[in-house]
């Protein structure tokens, strides 16, 4: 066998030296597209358009009913809000939820991994738009819903079917859309 050219020799070929850089630039371009793609990267629940999963959550607060999924199928559209006292964006969306409650939208709460005292403090500070609050102490209902974080809000129609999923906090500019979805769900 003749003298073999070591690895550094092919690298002396001009183009090969720049190959890693070219690959890296390709990676950067790909990631930039990924980061700034207009389509959102939220994990949409596979349950949109499907009935709400069955659950029966115990009451999170004394004197307030818990949340049974059968209640949601009472013929009227509902808003189901997944929240927690430890969740900062949940404070941000509280005024919007208050406005929706004032407008007569029935809002049901699912509080995730929370304690009664913390929850009471949270509602005292940020207002309390909820008709019922179910305690999801281990996040299992949240998982079953296919929700990836708090807060998330679901529009559920009168038959208990999930019509729309809103991921993240509800900002003032989202109110119109939510009301529209609720109206659609009511038809």
């Amino acid at each position: 066998m003749s003298e073999h050219t070591p690895k550094s020799a092919p690298l002396a070929g001009r183009w090969a030296i720049w190959l890693p850089l070219a690959l890296f630039l390709g990676f950067v371009a790909l990631v930039i597209v990924g980061l700034y793609r207009p389509a959102d990267r939220n994990v949409a629940s596979a349950l949109v358009g499907k009935p709400m999963p069955q659950f029966d959550l115990p009451a999170a607060l004394p004197g307030r009913p818990g949340l049974d999924s059968r209640v949601l199928a009472n013929g009227k559209p509902h808003l189901v809000n997944i929240f927690a006292s430890w969740c900062i964006p949940c404070r941000v969306e509280a005024p919007q939820l208050g406005a929706l409650a004032k407008a007569g939208v029935p809002i049901e709460g699912i509080s995730v991994r929370d304690t009664t005292e913390n929850l009471q403090g949270f509602l005292q500070q940020n207002g309390d738009p909820f008709q019922r609050i179910g305690a999801d102490d281990d996040g299992k209902v949240q998982l079953a819903l296919g929700s990836s974080g708090v807060p998330e809000t679901y529009v559920v129609d009168g038959k208990g079917r999930i019509v729309y999923q809103h991921i993240g906090e509800i900002r003032p500019e989202h109110l119109g859309l939510l009301l529209e979805k609720l109206k659609e769900a009511g038809q």
């Binding site: 550094s8 690298l11 980061l35």
Partner: protein
């Protein structure tokens, strides 16, 4: 106060990193030579300050200072102390601080002890290290300040997540981080060598302990992570090709290649440009891995805090560092003179095969990890799994393992197969015998078959380098190589055996019934309810017996039901024997057939012959690295001591 002290230390460390960069760069010119003197002390102080900042963070976590936002968000006064401390790095900001602390300490250590390289190269290296650190300091101070205060102070913190309260999980991330960041030193050395064009054996010897150290931590981190997934998830698998697993595997592959090419450069002054490039690539893979995980750009079970702003910041850092280093490489590599030549059949030749194969596997893993992103950019959603990764990586791993049997026996520079051929007869026969025996037994898929046959030969071949050596005088690095290569054989055997011989059984049994899984008789004794803090569970008492007349052992798998929700989880039970593991999962109650009185329970049982060898092999690989590291460092220390003695005597005689 302590939080402010930490923040001040962080700012000072960042400022010193800036000074280190400026002084190191100016020190390269003749006019700025005076400044160069400052670089080493500055690097040491910078490392100390980073450590101080990290200690402050640990303190505020240990005392649960809830006025610090990070503590309020991630800790709780009722947690056990060890988890409070682990909470310091169990979050984004804290782990970034750990990152810069390890980097700072690494730089400080290099500045203190590394005297072999020309001073110019050292200046460039430390300037490079400071440049990289500076970016991460900026990221911490601008976009993720760990010491931010919260007003008003909350009464109690949030950090109740019980998932993270697991000792294994508390120490798994810092282990991997030490590995990731240790590679930054290799990166800086590569930059330093490119700037001054001094690439040679001295450079490789200086870099090697760092690569080794980082590689040991990576190996241990990956092994531990894999066992945790196997044990905790209850799916019976041990590697899922999850993006985060891949993010730790890619730097490991690059570091393994770098380790071997470093050996060639140190011993033979060959593979110069290639080693430099691997030095750049290894740390780049660490950064890319961290970026992929932290930006949440890939949907993965591990991805937390999906945050485009942070993602953009880290991406900018990546572009500057990796892009910059690769541009520098492109400009300088052609002028790095070609190394020594060698014949194809030689130790170098074998190591080149190792490097090319490892790089190819790295490329395959990287491509598979990024492909979903690529497909999504094109508008499709795909996920890439074992059907791609397993055969594609085996395509390159198998030839690499074959060469691994031969390579360590070959001489440097030039050799003949005829010389080593005789000692390889036994391994070759082992491979053939095992292969044929397994073929006769039948029913084994191609990849496990290859793995089992190869592991038999590899186990033997890996200890051949010790033949005809005085074992007491054999240098530690040789022992390290043998142990690590043997560990590969052990791990490969475990993996192949697990996938070839695993017996899975899903049964529905009544209490008192016995079912067979492989050599085990499993009797369902009772199923009793037990209660936990927020769950109730059905706990099965299984009485298991290996073979016929061995003693009976008890296993207690649970099926946990959480109160209201529709989901159940399984707590698996494991029983380890020298020749494998029995893995039991209790399912739910089986639907009753009409007229049946007693309930039947679903049991899922696996008998996994030799599965623990997967992780024992991994630990052996790390142990081999440790032996080599101790050997190298001890040799360095001896040489430094000897040199000092000679210098001292000369000085005395000169008087």
């Amino acid at each position: 106060m302590i939080a402010e002290l930490g923040l001040a230390a962080l700012w000072l460390a960042a400022a010193l990193a800036g000074l280190q960069l400026v002084a190191g760069s100016l020190g390269l010119s003749t006019r700025g030579a005076v400044l160069g003197e400052a670089v080493r002390p500055v690097a040491v102080v910078q490392g100390g300050l980073a450590l101080l900042a990290f200690a402050c963070l640990i303190y505020v976590f240990a005392v649960t200072d809830l006025s610090v936002k990070l503590v309020a968000l991630n800790s709780h006064s009722m947690k056990p102390l060890v988890f409070k401390i682990a909470g310091a790095w169990g979050n984004h900001e804290g782990s970034m601080l750990l990152w810069v602390t390890v980097m700072g300490l690494g730089g400080a250590f290099v500045a203190l002890v590394e005297k072999r390289l020309p001073e110019r190269t050292m200046l460039a290296t430390l300037a490079g290290q400071a440049f990289v650190s500076l970016g991460f300091y900026a990221f911490l101070l601008v976009a993720s300040n760990p010491f931010e205060r919260l007003s008003p102070v909350p009464v109690e913190g949030n950090g109740l997540n019980p998932l993270l309260q697991d000792l294994g999980l508390a120490f798994h991330p810092p282990t991997l981080y030490l590995g990731y960041v240790g590679l930054s030193i290799a990166f800086s050395f590569a930059i330093g060598a490119l700037v001054t064009r001094e690439v040679g054996p001295a450079f490789a010897k200086a870099m090697r302990p760092w690569v080794l150290g980082a590689w040991i931590f990576l190996t241990m981190g990956i092994t531990a992570g894999s066992y945790w997934a196997y044990y905790e998830l209850g799916w019976g698998g041990w590697w899922f090709w999850d993006p985060v697993e891949n993010a730790s595997l890619m730097p490991w592959l690059a570091a393994t290649a770098l380790l071997h090419s470093c050996g060639v450069l140190a011993a033979r002054n060959a593979l110069r440009a290639w080693t430099i490039m691997l030095g750049v690539v290894a740390f780049s893979m660490s950064m890319i891995g961290t970026f992929l995980v932290r930006s949440g750009i890939l949907t993965s079970v591990h991805a937390f805090a999906v945050d485009p702003q942070r993602g953009t910041f880290i991406l900018a850092l990546l572009a500057i560092y990796i892009g910059g280093a690769l541009v520098l490489f492109g400009l300088r590599a052609a002028t790095v003179t070609e190394g020594e030549r060698f014949a194809f059949v030689s130790r170098e030749g074998a190591l080149v095969v190792n490097n090319v194969m490892l790089s190819a596997i790295l490329g395959i893993v990287l491509f598979g990890t990024l492909y979903p992103l690529f497909a999504e950019a094109m508008g499709a959603k795909v996920s890439v799994g074992p059907p791609y990764f397993n055969p594609m990586s085996a395509l390159f791993a198998v030839p690499m393992l074959v060469v691994l049997m031969v390579g360590p026996l070959l001489r440097w520079r030039r050799d003949k197969f005829a010389r080593v051929g005789r000692s390889l007869v036994i391994p070759a026969m082992l491979v053939a015998t095992a292969g044929i025996a397994l073929l006769v037994a039948g029913g084994i898929a191609l990849l496990p078959w290859l793995g089992l046959a190869l592991s038999a030969g590899l186990g033997w071949a890996s200890i051949l380098p010790l033949k005809a050596r005085n074992l007491r005088r054999t240098p530690l690095p040789i022992w390290g190589m043998v142990v690590a290569h043997f560990g590969i054989a052990v791990s490969l055997f475990g993996m192949s055996s697990e996938s070839a011989f695993s017996i899975e059984k899903l049964v529905a049994v009544r209490a008192g019934e016995v079912t067979q899984v492989g050599p085990w008789g499993v009797k369902l004794d009772t199923v009793e309810p037990v209660a936990g803090p927020n769950w109730t569970a059905m706990e099965a008492r299984l009485l298991v017996r290996y073979g016929v007349d061995r003693k009976v052992t008890r296993m207690l798998p649970q099926s946990r039901s959480f109160w209201a929700p529709p989901q159940q989880t399984s707590e698996s039970a494991l029983l380890t024997r020298w020749n494998g593991q029995l893995y039991a999962v209790l399912g739910g109650e089986a639907p009753k057939v009409a007229g049946e009185k007693q309930a039947r329970w679903q049991l899922r049982l696996w008998w996994k012959p030799f599965a623990p060898l997967i992780w024992i092999g991994g630990l052996l690989i790390a142990l081999g690295g440790l032996l080599a590291l101790i050997g190298r460092v001890a040799a360095d220390v001896r040489r430094i001591v000897a040199k000092d003695k000679i210098a001292y005597r000369r000085e005395k005689q000169g008087r």
